[in-house]
Symmetry: C2
Subunit: 383 residues, 2 copies
């Protein structure tokens, strides 16, 4: 079956590119003496994660408890839930642990630690905990010079119901770097921030077995992982236009695209209308601040070859407008009504999230598999 | 059961506000002598659409064939699919028609009309067709002075497999209006654009039974619907911060919110961290160009009362940062770790799309029902 036979819009994944991306980064991390704990937040698919793991036992990272449930049901037991724990979710994590999952949580406040200790004692489990560290000021975490780090470490080490496993940080600021050298600097800062906090805990006699870092830009460009026990990138499996704009990959490495159909024109304006809008492409405009603004995505033919400088310039819910970047003529004959096109995404996490499955190809437009994705959060109680 | 018992993030719908919103607009449209054909693209829920229809037989509008399948299975037979038809979807529409649905399609090219005629003859159906008109230059459709309108009308009237039912337009440009008077002007322009094209078809002896218009801003503020047979708004059921910014509703009319939990702080920066990021709130920044920029949403307590000028200023995938608009002190005691908050959305269509169901409340934090939503496109073939 060919892509051109599918109802549009839908999500396409190139398996050859995926396999290359996961192999290159795994070898890089292992070559530096550390271990990959791939983040499932982008893939949300057991088929993709199995390729990323390649039979390693280093476990995975997740961004939702729904991912945790799904991957655990698929046989992956070692799971780090890398969003600061909300007390209302502790019962669910305890359930997973009691069913046999090696679930680790993260936190950065005494209030969360108290709630976890209380719930752990109530449910007869000890939650493994990493303290979240702030290495770049972009979001959550404790600064390396904050006395809270040691207070929290002592609490987690002392109290029942919780167990101090180490620290984790995420250099999310690397997405805003301007040059490769900036990303390398951020990678050094991420590693150093983690090591400083690990040393601070150890210097007062606290355990810190796990020193966990990771973002796709820093993981790709790091040159030194000594002292780092695991690295947690996610986007690297697919890459995207933001990563290409950063210089972390090339456009030819991007494994994810959205298949759409041409449904009309405004020829005087140089517009082609397609049936993929922000609902299929996402609202992400991550390339807007980069040197090359890719609009809502770069347009390719059905085999996956880009049309240079032809992008999705605007979107409504189920409509996209294709035009030449900066205006200019477009060959309407190449885009007959009904023609399938493939759109490379700004941000693979955001675009993937709009779809329930991948139509898998391998360098052509022939579909070789269909892989499901697990979106959303919990099913929750029916009232 | 209370909202505070739910795992976060999740989607909350206030039934009282929904009922008020659907009643006010239905009375307005019917009072002007026209009929509502509510758009299901925002609600994607039979429970919401049944309230919007209130037992009327005027049919509904959909933005995907998945919505069409879902609403048809729930007993709604009269369905307008209001995205220019892609030839690859004609077989599916023919299936729906052969199963008894009164499905209408839209198009604005001869190529689509030829494909529909061919497929209609092949499948033994006549696709009811509305010609899409461009009333404001924002997207698709034929201009009123384009000779293609009559050519297309004649083709659809003459050929087998298709049946000319009339015309439709959508004043999407109304979302960018600056004042109430601008929206009223846009409403007049939308109506006039539709009537001009309807008259042009009729003047050469072609039928034009349906004259269909509609957007939430123009439908809310129109003062004259003479000659208009149906109006197709969708967002009005929930309203959102973009609509409030336009003056189409007040903040107190907004029926949709995202429930999140406080999971940490950066107190020196005046930040509260919650577990709702762009995955739960959407990337939509529709208020960025309005007088009051609401960030990624306005923060309310668990009962739904807004904290003035407290907004979500930044998001990552599963993290949001709450701060005071423009900086300034925030009362951290009001936002203890674990506290539930509700975030009003910029754009109800985009925020709703990130969730699988509504937790329904009615003015308080007590859950009175759970209603499912139907996201995505077709399940497609398994290869």
């Amino acid at each position: 079956m060919r892509l051109s036979e599918l109802e549009t819009p839908c999500l396409v994944l190139d398996r050859g590119r995926l396999e290359k991306n996961v192999t290159v980064l795994r070898r890089h991390i292992e070559g530096l003496g550390s271990r990959l704990r791939p983040h499932g937040k982008t893939a949300k698919s057991i088929d993709v994660m199995n390729l990323a793991l390649d039979h390693r036992s280093g476990g995975i990272t997740v961004s939702t408890l729904r991912e945790a449930e799904y991957f655990f049901a698929q046989g992956i037991g070692d799971i780090l839930y890398a969003v600061g724990i909300a007390p209302v979710k502790l019962d669910h994590v305890a359930d997973l642990i009691r069913r046999g999952a090696a679930m680790t949580i993260i936190l950065d406040t005494i209030e969360q630690a108290r709630a976890a200790s209380l719930k752990g004692r109530e449910r007869g489990v000890a939650f493994p905990v990493l303290i979240e560290i702030d290495c770049d000021g972009h979001r959550s975490g404790i600064g390396g010079d904050d006395p809270l780090l040691i207070d929290l470490g002592r609490f987690l080490h002392r109290e029942e119901g919780v167990e101090l496993k180490g620290i984790m940080t995420h250099a999310g600021g690397s997405y805003n770097c301007g040059t490769i050298e900036d990303i390398r600097r951020m990678a050094r800062q991420e590693r150093q921030g983690a090591l400083t906090c690990a040393d601070a805990l150890r210097s007062v006699g606290l355990p810190c077995d796990t020193v966990s870092i990771g973002s796709t830009p820093t993981a790709t460009l790091t040159e030194d992982l000594s002292g780092i026990t695991e690295v947690r990138p996610g986007v690297y499996m697919f890459h995207d236009l933001v990563m290409a704009g950063l210089g972390v990959c090339t456009v030819d490495d991007i494994a994810m695209s959205v298949l759409a159909s041409v449904i009309g024109y405004q020829k005087k304006k140089g517009w082609i209308i397609i049936d993929a809008g922000w609902m299929a492409l996402s609202r992400d405009r991550g390339t807007a601040q980069q040197v090359t603004d890719q609009g809502y995505g770069l347009v390719c033919d059905c085999q996956g070859s880009p049309f240079p400088d032809v992008i999705v310039t605007a979107t409504n819910q189920e409509h996209g407008i294709i035009a030449r970047r900066g205006g200019g003529d477009i060959d309407f004959n190449t885009f007959a009504v009904g023609s399938p096109v493939r759109i490379l995404p700004n941000h693979a996490c955001a675009t993937g999230a709009m779809h329930d499955r991948y139509y898998v190809v391998d360098g052509t437009d022939e579909i070789v598999a269909v892989w499901d994705r697990i979106n959303g959060w919990e099913d929750g109680p029916q009232v």
